[in-house]
């Protein structure tokens, strides 16, 4: 059953990803991207990473996608007036991406033998265990990421403001 769920979620993620890059209307692209994100959240749950699944849905489906949609509506881009690239360029792009796929699978395929000795711990994905790691081993990066978010907010406001004086 869970095995079937894995392949179903994988199929949904890849199909939605394909639709994101082929849809003519940018609003449709955003909606397909939301489907892909929910499929990836399902993968996190299958991997026993509940905290990541929740954060993924809140951050991506809740914040980032709303930002994308509001910018598309703000700039009134919900129509396809995008000039197409030539067929030669499209073919070259497809060949390049396919070669990249072959390279990635070829490079990463040998890595699964390294991890065979580890006993499985099903508690690491829970909020309690992850919070302990986050606030003990990774406290400094956590605080620095707060600064990063603050500077991103200020940077976005400064960029879109018409006259600062």
């Amino acid at each position: 059953m869970t095995q079937f769920l894995f392949y179903f979620l994988s199929f949904v993620a890849v199909a939605a990803g394909l639709m994101v890059i082929t849809a003519k209307n940018p609003v449709h692209s955003v909606l397909y991207l939301i489907i892909a994100f929910f499929a990836i959240a399902g993968h996190y749950i299958l991997l026993n990473a509940q905290f990541l699944a929740i954060v993924h849905i809140i951050v991506y489906a809740g914040a980032i996608m709303v930002l994308f949609l509001s910018v598309i509506m703000l700039l009134n881009l919900n129509k396809d007036n995008e000039p197409a690239k030539s067929n030669v360029l499209k073919l070259a792009a497809a060949v390049a991406a396919g070669l990249l796929l072959v390279t990635f699978t070829g490079t990463l395929k040998g890595t699964e033998s390294i991890i065979a000795a580890q006993p499985y711990d099903d508690q690491i994905g829970y909020v309690k265990a992850l919070g302990k790691v986050l606030f003990n081993d990774f406290l400094l990066p956590f605080e620095v990421s707060a600064l990063l978010l603050l500077s991103a907010i200020i940077g976005a406001v400064v960029l879109v403001k018409h006259d600062l004086k």
């Binding site: 692209s29 955003v30 026993n48 881009l77 991890i115 976005a156 960029l159």
Partner: protein, 110 residues
Amino acid sequence: MENISTQIAQVAPLEHYIILSALLFSLGVLGVMLRRNVIIMFMSIELMLNACNLLLAAFSAFHSSAAGQVFVFFIMIVAAAEVAVGLAIIVMIYRNIHSIDINELSKLKW
């Protein structure tokens, strides 16, 4: 413990997660190369980030190490910051050249 270990391997072997992530990443790269709409290129970048996140989470679960999941968390923070600043830049570009076609931006000066 041994029982659960075989249980997670039964869902899918790590190899399949690698292939899935490579596929999603390649789709993102293809989107960046294929499209001329800046916003869709931006979405393709998000797709690539998510492929990396998924692979990190898979390795973390199979390796029984929480560090991988913490890194996924940090990547999400960076992605949120990146989207905020990037969309602000796109709005500013649209204000100046009234288009989001990437080819219009080949001359950065005007």
